[in-house]
């Protein structure tokens, strides 16, 4: 390679820098390497995006739940995208308690109204995945510990949520997330 280049430069006829110091060979070199770089990036795209959720995983994007059997004070665990959804029918007492908490006391300030649908303030629907590291908090099932704030308690790292699943204590940064949902009829929820 080196010798070839020398002999090419040595002969007058092969000089191709046109006097400005830029040789044709340099251009070819840069262009070829750049194009190889583009090729590497292009080849990496399928290798990386292959790991994103596949079509069948995305197809489980919505789920319907009949909530007519849930009495006030009761809750159920539904499944959406392989994640648990807590659906809880709040009692008037729980609603009053939640509204009595000043927002300044909250780490992630949200009112009950912001966490529920208008006219359906008694229906708390949240993703039952602790916002710390993803364990399922206790408290939705009958007899499970509800933690110091009477709502949900994550046994993994000790995060405590209140009755409307707002973070009150422990390492979790945010309230339990409210998924996108709507009431398709007075007693049927569609999540997703």
């Amino acid at each position: 390679m080196a010798t070839l280049e020398q002999s090419a430069e040595g002969s007058e006829t092969a000089r191709a820098d046109g006097g400005d110091g830029v040789r044709r060979r340099d251009f070819i070199n840069v262009a070829a390497l750049s194009f190889a770089g583009v090729g590497v990036v292009a080849a990496a795209i399928p290798l990386i995006t292959e790991m994103n959720p596949s079509a069948d995983v995305l197809a489980m994007a919505s789920t319907e739940v009949d909530v007519s059997k849930i009495l006030p004070g009761q809750g159920i665990k539904a499944s959406w995208r392989k994640q648990p959804i807590f659906i809880h029918n709040l009692t008037p007492k729980e609603i009053a308690e939640a509204n009595a908490v000043p927002l300044s006391e909250l780490r992630d300030p949200q009112t009950l109204a912001e966490r529920t649908k208008p006219g359906k303030e008694n229906w708390l629907v949240v993703i039952g995945v602790c916002t710390h590291l993803g364990c399922i908090p206790l408290g939705i099932g009958e007899g499970e510990t509800k933690g110091p704030y009477g709502g949900y308690f994550c046994p993994c790292h000790g995060s405590a949520y209140d009755t409307v699943a707002r973070i009150r204590q422990g390492p979790a940064p945010l309230n339990l997330k409210v998924p996108d949902y709507q009431f398709t009829s007075p007693t049927v929820l569609r999540i997703g």
Binding site: M51, V57, P155, P173
Partner: protein, 434 residues
Amino acid sequence: MSFSWAKSYEPKSPFMRWLDDRLPLPRLIYGATGPGYPVPRNLSYWWNYGVLAGLFLTIQIVTGIVLAMHYYSSADGAFNSVEHLMRDVNAGWLLRYAHMNGASFFFVVTYIHIFRGLFFGSYKAPRELVWMLGLVIYLLMMATAFMGYVLPWGQMSYWGAQVITGFFSAFPLVGEPIRIWLLGGYAPDQATLTRFFSLHYLLPFVIAAVVILHIWALHIPGSNNPTGVDVKDERDTLPFHPFYTAKDGFGVGVFLILYALVLYFAPNYLGHPDNYIPANNMATPPHIVPEWYFWPFYAILRSFTVGFILPAKLWGVLAMFSSILLLFFLPWLDRSPVRSGSYRPMFKRFFWLLLLDVALLGYIGGAPISPLNVALGQIAAAYYFAHFLIILPLVSRFERTLPLPNSISESVLHGELQEAAPAGTARRKPATAK
């Protein structure tokens, strides 16, 4: 590469001469682990653990390859295939227990190896890259062990995957997309299991490759030794074979006995019973803990309960990652020119305190959450960082070290050599200790 007095390889037969001219593999082995590699003559049994780590890596690769012949990486079949392996496959129980406990033993010997290096200053110049490559191996081991633990698809597997991939969600903006990308879904599922199996099979070979770099970098200056004094001449060294092959062989025998004891009498002692319950994405076990070798880091993660400026969750994750990344800077945090802790009275005390601190972190990481445990964990985690960032730089600055021996052979022979040598030839400039 090696010392000038290293014996060079002489092919003994015409065939070996023929081979040596074409593929000098026997020459490489002779020079790396044979009589052609001179090693300080005073290495103690603490120097066995590198070879022992190599032994357990080999055991893991060999048992792992045969386990993979019986394992299905399917979310419906994984748990059952492991049970089938345990109950129906010939010697399946033995191979699986060997692999499970082999991982624990790999970590035991690696931790001893790391603390050996910490005490004797093996991370100091000219061995900084040996130390850093070792840390890369350690990080790869942690990734491999974590993914391996997910494969049986029991409750601990599933929730371990959920929590550990959850670390990434702590980072703002990019965190959640990264987590979903790693899992291939919104929660651990088939996609997660299959990719973890693929990577769990791949990474041990990557580890083996980095081990080769680690040994290569080690063989440039040669091994450190209990005095920390550099090798000066031929009297300070012995050929690796037969002296250290024999000494390492003894250590291998001892560790294989310990391994067999655990394997045959307490194979599940280090595991967690919840992992014999099939994965259930609707119920978290009440007390989830990682495997014992991650407990100190888990304790650091759990030490952050209130946020300041950044959320507590992000602090926990950052602290946990930086507790290991910090070690990459160790050669420059400890500036003392004396390597061995034996000649550093102040350093020695803090070394044992650090060891106790890590043991305490380990205990806290495995214990259930309680206010006392969290408080203890916070103190221990703060001390861990203080040791490396405050204590070590100060100690290396103000410590009065003990006088170093003139040479390795002198420290071994306690002056007999000097008496026997002609006047003036054995006396050399004393190594300076600041």
